[in-house]
Amino acid sequence: MEVHRHLDEELDELRDSIMRLGGEAEAALRRAMHALSERDIAAANEVLEHDDAIDELEVEVDRQCIDIFVLRQPAARDLRFVMSVAKTAPLLERIADHACNIARAATDLAGEPELKNDIGMGRMGEIASSMLTGALDAFTRSDADAARAIIKRDAEINDLYNHIFRDLIELMVKEPGTATRDARLLLVAKHLERIGDYVTDISELTVYMAEAAVIKHRRGI
Amino acid sequence: MGTLAALCTIVAVSVLGIILSYIAMRGISSISFRFLVDTPRPVGEGGGIGNAIVGSAVLLGLACAAGIPTGIATGVYLSEIGRNWFGNIVRFLIDTLTGIPSIVTGVFVYAVIVLRMKHFSAFAGGVALALIMIPIVARTTEEMIKLVPHSLREGALALGAPQWRVTLGVVLPAAASGIATGVMLSIARVSGETAPLLFTAFGSRFFPNGLNEPIASLTVQIYNYAISPYDEWHAQAWAATLVLMTLILTINVSVRFLTRKKF
């Protein structure tokens, strides 16, 4: 005998808000990577201008969560959902911040000479983007298995990062003239690696939300 | 609607007021110390209702001694244990008893006690009055005990009190003021009975000398004087009526006062 609860509406609104925030973070990352690869300064500026709206959205999600906690005292599944949303919002906001950093780097790198060989930055950005999309999808569907799959992909990003790191260091040694460019690229890779970590965190929260299992800080999941 | 109710109330209260003031008016002139203390004398020699007052007191005392404990005990039985078919039968019989005309009770006691003893007696009068009291006291007691909230009983039971202790130590004290009211009202009722006494206590012109003899009472005395052909005795009847009414009023007022809520 299902009873319609006031809380259900509020949970739906919260779900909408976090999905919007996730969408904004996804878009920011894609736009930033596009600005980097296509040297599109206009796109990069778009990312930077849009960041304030993302910050406001995160604050709004915070407010919604607090209201639900204090006014509805959610329990069990509902409690885990609101808690996970409250913890995911700042993660998404930081992902967007890293996207901003990538956009700034793209602006700086637009004037620098291109790399001779493909070091894999594009692929790293692809992986990060698809991981983020997958993690948000798993989150909204409370799909713990999909979330676990995303967590496994973090190894890919970390491996790629290590490769890019070694390649760029080699390059800096061999061609010191373009060292500034290489250093900036290295930082972009670092931002992408951090984004991978945040996406992993979001997926761990998804598992907690769906199964009440706390898998963070643990090796086996 | 409200005014109609108010009017009816005024009518009812006025009737009582008229009765009381008329009695007072007719009776007050004959009241004197001697009147209250002397025994009856032949017409023309004065006399009083001293023995009748004492007699009524004795009869009331006997009735209370027999009637109150029995009545309360029956009431306790009915409320605590009598929820079965047997209790229902008892309850029905008691209700019937309440409705029996008092003269029938008097005749019954006459047949069962007076004839056996071959004379009238205060004892028989007391029994007759007790038989009238018992059903009233029993039913009131039962109702008052039922009014004691169940939660009070549970509180005592939960502390390890056996059932009898709960009844005696918690329920009865809680119902006490209600039971006392019932008892007092039955006393007031019984002190006004005349018919049963005619067949049992009969009446007397002397102060009582023991329970095995006939005994005077206010009500019988009033009856005897009222149906006599003498004006002097009529006047004494009015005075005795005034005394009786005063006694009954006093009982009623005391009931109200003594059972005011303390706890």
Binding site: A75 | L152, E154
Partner: protein, 275 residues
């Protein structure tokens, strides 16, 4: 002294966790309890263990049997005609429904506080002394007075009433009357206290006083509390049992019950998905 790497170092702070119910012995052990009101079966196959010196809450919708179950623990249902019990209720290993069991002693050992406070229409002192008197637990007036003071202190009421012990108990406020009833139950030094929605008739401040009191009392007594207020169950209890239609659906630690219950029925009830 060599500097060992951090891999094996213990954390410098203590991780305090709430004691697990399994670390406490079972004070009350119910095995396969069935309860009937005449032909109606009110409780079906209830099996549960209440750990000692902990608070166990019984929750569930109206009519689910939680109060009936509570009252089987001190045999208060015996006073209702037509009731029948099957199964065992063991307190300290002894079956309280065994033939010849001493019900009076049971009720001294297992005290009860009711939903609506029910002080006797006597003085405050006499209320608390009642249990002591009828069970003849004291041998002198001095001892009686000491025990009454002790009970009122344990119930957090002494300072409020110590100057008017002879006045009527009915003159106290609702919250004070309930604490008086708790003192009355504590006076006979029970081992278990059963509470049937003790704060449901009280305002929030009086309620929180009672809840704080429960927190203190559980150091010495095993407590079982029936409540229809889930937040209250969450606040005061260590263990929670969910009843539905006479059956015990789930028993769990309170944290687990309210964050990740095992049964869907439990979750539906806790999240308000059925009335």
């Amino acid at each position: 002294m060599s500097m060992t790497p951090t891999a094996g170092m213990k954390p410098k702070f203590e991780i305090k966790s709430r004691a697990a119910p399994s670390s406490h012995a079972a004070k009350i052990s119910v095995k396969d309890l069935n309860f009937y009101y005449g032909r109606n079966q009110a409780l079906e196959s209830i099996s549960v263990e209440l750990p000692e010196k902990m608070v166990t809450a019984f929750i569930g919708p109206s009519g689910c049997g939680k109060t009936t179950f509570l009252r089987t623990l001190n045999r208060m249902n015996d006073v209702v005609p037509g009731t029948r019990v099957e199964g065992d209720v063991l307190i300290d290993g002894e079956n309280i429904y065994a033939a010849g069991a001493d019900v009076v002693d049971l009720r001294r050992k297992v005290g009860m506080v009711f939903q609506k406070s029910n002080p006797f229409p006597k003085s405050i002192f006499e209320n608390v002394a009642y249990g002591l008197r009828i069970n003849r637990l004291t041998s002198s007036r001095g001892e009686l007075e000491a025990r009454v003071e002790e009970a009122l202190t344990d119930a957090a009421l002494w300072t409020e009433v110590k100057d008017r012990l002879k006045s009527s108990a009915l003159g106290l406020s609702g919250g004070q009357q309930q604490r008086l009833c708790i003192a009355r139950a504590l006076a006979v030094r029970p081992e278990v206290i059963l509470m049937d929605e003790p704060a449901s008739a009280l305002d929030p401040i009086a309620t929180s006083k009672i809840e704080e009191l429960i927190f203190v009392l559980k150091q010495h007594y095993t407590i079982a509390i029936v409540t229809h207020n889930m937040q209250q169950a969450a606040r005061v209890s260590d263990l929670t049992a969910f009843f539905l239609l006479g059956k015990l659906v789930e028993v769990n630690t309170t944290e687990k019950m309210f964050t990740a219950p095992d049964e869907k029925l439990t979750e539906d009830y806790i999240t308000g998905r059925f009335g």
